[in-house]
Symmetry: C2
Subunit: 283 residues, 2 copies
Amino acid sequence: MPDLVVRLGLPSGTRAVIVSCDELGLTHATNSAIFEALALRRTTSASLMVPAPWARASTANYRGEDVGVHLTLNSELDLYRWAPITQSPSLLDGDGAFPRTIEDVWEHADLDEVRREWRAQIERAVLWGFHITHLDTHLAGVELKPEFFDVYLELAEEFRLPVRLPGVEAEERIGFPFRAEAEERGVVAPDHVVPLDELGNTAAQIIEGLAALPPGVTEVHAHPAIDSPEIRAATPDWPERVAAHAILGQIETIVAGAQQRGVTFIAYRELAALARREPRVAR
Amino acid sequence: MPDLVVRLGLPSGTRAVIVSCDELGLTHATNSAIFEALALRRTTSASLMVPAPWARASTANYRGEDVGVHLTLNSELDLYRWAPITQSPSLLDGDGAFPRTIEDVWEHADLDEVRREWRAQIERAVLWGFHITHLDTHLAGVELKPEFFDVYLELAEEFRLPVRLPGVEAEERIGFPFRAEAEERGVVAPDHVVPLDELGNTAAQIIEGLAALPPGVTEVHAHPAIDSPEIRAATPDWPERVAAHAILGQIETIVAGAQQRGVTFIAYRELAALARREPRVAR
């Protein structure tokens, strides 16, 4: 199959970037920062945690931006918790919330309950009026066990949505050819995924990092939050989230600088359109 | 039966007051304000909303203070929501949260699901390590329909806990003799319940209001919150909550002033001890 950028109508070898924000719905501070970033229109998508406490409230500021469903099976924080939206005993820890670790999910989750819970999360996001453009997972990597990955692809097929996947370089570490499997089944995914803070901490560093990306489609994602007593109490990584909010305030400068270095910016809705257009592979 | 104050070992005719805070667990702002009030040790109890997003986090600051279970069947806010902790289809609205109104609960709730959900809320609070001293309800009044009231009393009997009830003057408005029923079944309840802001908006007014209470045990309760972007986004009544936080900052002055006017201050744990001591009525 031709390269993804070519299938998107871009010249072969293009460096195409999607800038996205994760964990819409987690807290008030997260919602505020993400909608600030989306308002700048260079951060083009957010990923919604349907079972999280502020998910429903995020509809108040939604103006049709691209939203993915951050398919959730973990509630990783010490004391700020969220739970399945379906009756799923195998997805609960002793607190009545999702388990804290991926290993705990892999050990205890019933796959039928996973499938039903994830489908319910997608359906609820649609019911709330979100324009769903893609799927990814929380915690990232929970999908990367063969039987969970099969459910992830099933839902991508059923809803004809692109998915986030680690790049092909991760396959050896992870231990099964997940990208080849997704491609065989005709599921669209960006070629690479990189956390924004891995590219650098200043606008200049991030522009350099974007210009040095490999050819293909890269999703660059961040976890921004405004600084507030709420986020400081909810999660120990609040300083990184507040820093992401600050750097996304410069996203227009970053995008302009990277464009001068030959980077193209696209949105998840273009991958979603491709996913609807391309034939699925019969199983 | 003798008056409650007499059963508590106080002189007949005593004006005894419990100062309590509602809605522990609702938000970070609520938790912060309530633990500030409890730290002053004149606000002696808080009422925990187990299914609310910040309930689990409230354990972080808990130091053995009196905690009641704010038995919850409503999620009344527009877009900040919480849901049953048991599988209870009859307790859900279209968002997958508890219904917003008492009327909606009364119309749709299955009483077996109410009983199981409320019992699970109490059991989870105990599991989290709270010393449970009483029961009340959210929304207040949802228990004041005969069949719901029966469940409320059943749980008070089962866990041998006192309950919050409106004063006898409310019986005509509410339409059934709920206080007489509680007394017949040997369930302990304060004689009166008054929101703090009905007593006034300044320390001086509140001292006057406390001195003018009828004899007997009165629970005076408040809904404090620190001022933050989170509480402002969560609920339109945030100004009243922030005002309650400010006035509770003067609780020591208020208590000292009211004591000079003959008011005695007690705690829910004294009612809880009485409830454990007095024989229940066989049914």
